[in-house]
């Protein structure tokens, strides 16, 4: 749209025609107060706080609903305006309690700020305040009517934003209340409740303390916390979150998860898991001492030194007597890239094995291989907000990747994005879709074949093949289509779909997986047959310095088969629970020396010979890569005495095994020739790593425990990870492209399908989620839902 010129407070401004005055002012650093206005949701003009004087208009106008126009002359702060705003505040305060000293919002409250600014401290209203009791709508959402200023934000957030419509406004005038969708008389406990997705977006949007969160309420004050910006540990979207932390006697505790910095890939959004499910860290069953199994079978707490000694000695002995090939290593979907990379490097270079895998929740190997040789064909999570057209095949983002679903809904609502959905279940996002193709159960393979040109496969994919043709033609007519793929599509099917997409000009792809670093785990080479960056084992020069065995190792299933046969001398599990996930018979591990790094005594950990208490993603720093390939910085927020990061533990074990530490971790001041990455015949030459660092204006790392020393190596060696440091360090996301080389790839068809989707619901999050009290409460709450659900929350796709 063309720009228009106008004047605000004497300043000449320009903005695209159609911009609302309030936004145009904000862009130019002029703050116009607002209660009911919230960017991206529908306009209300209900609160009258944003009134401004516009020349040639008879009365004060609401800046939130007035579009800028050519030659407009506006005043935003005059005595007249101040008086009008003050009067509005006096009305609002007529029934508002003097709660600030105890209210959660105190210090962060928009009403408080405005009252300070306009001085509406005394009131003309002599009527007694209208009190109502606070209501607990769910384990996480509480409503305190007296504090509510009836701005409607929560209602729109839940309706338009979440597509849940669980909140409404009832009664009239000063008696109005925000009402949840389960009225008291229809509830078994005679109290009003909310039957919804429990995302907490209503709480987030509330400008005052009327809506409060079950995890945070009355615990602390905003200024008593430190605020750490990091990445959510739950699903594969990797939302940016700000954790509020407070010191405790044994570390520091996370008391709040919120999204006050709206600069992340998730924009305004956090789901219930990001917002509340950080409490696993405080679970009382958490292990905080290394445990070593005694000859009598008991687990006994020992010192770190003893534990590392024992592990180092045993692993070294088993490697030397039974060979690296007899050792298996299982990595995690929730550790940092640095830890994942270090783990596979440790396995390959210290243990001497390629028997390394992780719980795969989507087929990133086929994804990378199908896209090999193409550039700019992968989408960022940010693209879901702006793409003009999106095709969603499989998956159920509402449940599996709520941030993605939020972006898609916002896109459809605010940018008129066209959404096409093909799914075997009636997923909730079909309500935003321009076209919904209801596939037959397991129809994805047939659909991919049909798209790839096999017309006969159409009738296997859907009953109504005419609809299928129309659907395909509509997609083919779209330029710059974003193709979002669920984990149902793997191997050949995934390749067929991508091949079809590659024929569409400008189409981009993304594959949805289930955990914070599912993508990073694959990118970092926690795979038996591929090195980091999907680099083939044989014949590569990039990782020549690794000197790894060239034959592919055992995958997840094969590792346990080897254990069953008695061929697995040792198993090293970092942050994973394969015994429960893959239904492993505990007896099969009886002859294997098992080391587990975890927070809890999971089904896998209880079988271990050594259990090392680990820090979680909120207690360490590093980087993670979300489903889309967006790399973000993880910062340490919480802290717990007695636990260590996986990174440190791997380093210490390697050290106890007598590994060459400078080869494993490129650290040290790069002034001497033998430091960092020089190898064998190159020794005595200039330190390649230091030279590379210097050329890139970076400092060599001083400590082997600094994950950034490994990040240096990732950046130097892993194809596709040529990241921008400043972006990362300033807390911004950056999109990375997998860069599998097209030569020497393992044939997709010959690989076994090892993908096991997590099948999490809105209120579960793998093994980790079981230790979150808030998630258990929400599951219980969900089980009390009336059988005729009042909202249309759909079950996850199969």
């Amino acid at each position: 749209m063309p720009d228009v010129k106008f004047t605000v407070d004497g300043k000449q401004l320009t903005a695209p025609a159609g911009t609302f005055l309030i936004e145009a002012c904000k862009t130019n650093g002029i703050e116009v107060p607002a209660f009911c206005y919230y960017p991206g949701i529908s306009l209300k003009a209900a609160c009258r706080m944003c009134v401004v004087r516009i020349e040639k208009m008879p009365k004060l106008q609401t800046a939130c609903t007035t579009p800028v126009s050519e030659g407009m002359v506006v005043q935003t702060e005059t005595p007249e305006i101040a008086q009008a705003r003050k009067a509005t505040l006096q009305l609002l305060l007529g029934n508002h309690p003097l709660d600030c000293p105890v209210c959660d919002a105190g210090g962060e409250c928009e009403l408080q700020d405005m009252t300070f600014k306009y001085g509406a401290a005394e009131s003309f209203y002599a009527e007694p305040k209208h009190h109502r009791e606070e209501q607990k709508w769910s384990p996480v959402v509480y409503y305190d009517r007296p504090r509510c200023i009836l701005c409607y934000r929560c209602i729109s957030m839940c309706g338009e934003g979440m597509d849940v419509f669980a909140l409404g406004i009832q009664a009239r005038g000063s008696s109005s209340v925000i009402a949840p969708n389960v009225p008291a008389q229809m509830s078994p406990d005679d109290l009003a409740h909310v039957d919804c997705e429990q995302c907490g977006m209503c709480i987030d949007a509330c400008p005052v303390g009327a809506l409060t969160s079950g995890t945070y309420r009355y615990k602390t004050r905003p200024w008593e916390m430190n605020h750490v910006s990091t990445v959510c540990t739950h699903c594969g979207d990797g939302c940016k979150t700000t954790l509020g932390v407070r010191s405790t006697s044994d570390g520091s505790e996370i008391v709040r998860g919120d999204n006050r910095d709206k600069s992340g890939i998730n924009n305004d959004f956090l789901c219930n898991k990001g917002r509340y499910a950080f409490d696993f860290a405080n679970n009382e069953t958490r292990i905080t001492q290394p445990l070593v199994r005694q000859p009598n079978g008991e687990l006994k707490p020992v010192s770190w030194e003893t534990a590392f000694d024992h592990v180092g000695k045993k692993l070294r002995e088993l490697r030397d007597t039974r060979g690296g090939k007899s050792i298996g290593v299982i990595g995690s979907n929730r550790t940092t890239n640095e830890e994942a990379y270090l783990l596979q490097k440790f396995a390959r270079t210290v243990l001497g094995t390629n028997n390394i895998d992780h719980h795969r929740t989507a087929d990133y190997v086929s994804f990378a291989q199908s896209l090999a040789g193409n550039t700019d064909r992968t989408a960022s999570l940010r693209d879901t907000l702006t793409a003009s057209a999106i095709l969603l095949v499989g998956g159920d983002p509402t449940i599996q990747a709520p941030g993605t679903a939020w972006n898609i809904r916002t896109n459809v609502r605010n940018h008129r994005g066209r959404l096409y959905v093909a799914n075997s279940a009636e997923i909730k996002l079909r309500r935003q879709a321009k076209s919904f193709l209801h596939l037959a159960p397991f129809g994805y393979s047939a659909l991919a074949s049909y798209f790839a040109g096999d017309a006969a496969a159409g009738s296997e994919a859907v009953g109504d093949t005419d609809a299928l043709t129309t659907f395909r033609e509509a997609i083919k007519a779209e330029e710059n289509l974003l193709i979002l793929i669920g984990s149902e599509l793997r191997g050949k099917d995934l390749k067929k779909l991508i091949d079809f997409g590659l024929t569409l000009p400008g189409a981009k792809f993304a594959l949805i997986s289930d955990y914070a670093n599912s993508r990073g785990a694959a990118d970092m080479g926690l795979l038996p047959d591929l090195l980091p960056g999907y680099t083939p084992l044989a014949g590569n020069t990039t990782f020549a310095e690794y000197n790894t065995p060239a034959a592919p190792g055992l995958d997840m299933i094969e590792i346990f088969e080897a254990a069953e046969r008695g061929d697995l001398s040792a198993l090293y599990v970092v942050g994973s629970n394969p015994v429960s996930r893959y239904g492993i018979d505990p007896a099969s591990l009886k002859d294997t020396f098992v080391v587990v790094q975890d927070m809890f005594l999971t089904e896998t950990a209880v079988l271990a010979d050594v259990i090392l208490p680990a820090a979680n993603l909120y207690e360490k720093s590093g980087s993670v890569t979300n489903s889309y390939g967006d790399l973000q910085l993880v910062s340490k927020a919480g802290d717990r005495a007695g636990v260590r990061t996986d990174f440190e533990m791997i380093v210490r074990i390697a050290d106890k095994m007598g590994a060459n530490m400078r080869e494993l971790i490129p650290f040290g001041k790069g002034t001497r020739a033998d430091m960092g990455q020089s190898r064998g015949v190159h020794s005595g030459e200039a330190d390649r790593h230091a030279v590379w660092l210097a050329a890139n204006n970076m400092e060599p790392k001083l400590s082997p425990f600094d994950p950034f020393a490994i990040l240096d190596e990732i950046q130097r060696l892993v194809p596709g990870y040529n990241l921008l440091r400043l972006q990362l360090l300033s807390g911004n996301d950056q999109h990375l492209q997998p860069a599998a080389s097209s030569n020497g790839l393992v044939q997709i068809g010959s690989r076994r399908d090892l993908v096991l989707p997590a099948n999490d619901t809105l209120f579960t999050s793998g093994t980790l989620g079981r230790y979150s009290t808030m998630l258990s409460d929400l599951q219980h709450n969900e089980s009390l839902r009336p059988p005729t659900g009042l909202t249309q929350i759909q079950p996850a796709a199969d």
């Binding site: 669980a166 909140l167 409404g168 009832q170 009664a171 009239r172 009402a179 969708n181 009042l790």
Partner: protein, 169 residues
Amino acid sequence: MSEIANTIFSPELAARFDKLVTIYPLRRSALVPMLLYAQDEVGYVSDAVIAEIAERIGLLELDVRNVLSYYSMLRTKPAGKYNVQVCTNISCMLRGGYEILDHCKHKLGIGHKETTSDGVFSLEEVECIGACCWAPAIQINYDFHDDLTPEKVDVLFQMYRDGQGKDVK
């Protein structure tokens, strides 16, 4: 949506509702008239009424409750057989509306929005009912009674007790 299998309404009212949702450009415009007609037939807007109306129009029950709660003339609890609505708005107030209201309260032994234990009368204080010229006025169900004094109210109540009033709500 309009074809409801097990309607809770009389066949006539159900047929009327079937039509009602079709005559507005937006289905939901039928909401307020439907609530009123349903209240006249059922006596109040019950949870079952809310559920069926929501289904007929294609709204969430929450939407129906939001609108319903806005209007004081729509009630969610049964009223007495005769619902006495006393106006205390300006004209009536000047001509003794509050005396009438107090008298009703005293006579019936109930307060605003309450029902006598025998279920015969219920009482409500309301805003202007459009009978200002003959203030003070009250409305019992759909019938007006105006130019009242406490004595005239006593006569009225006796009349209704004797079954001579109209029981149309």
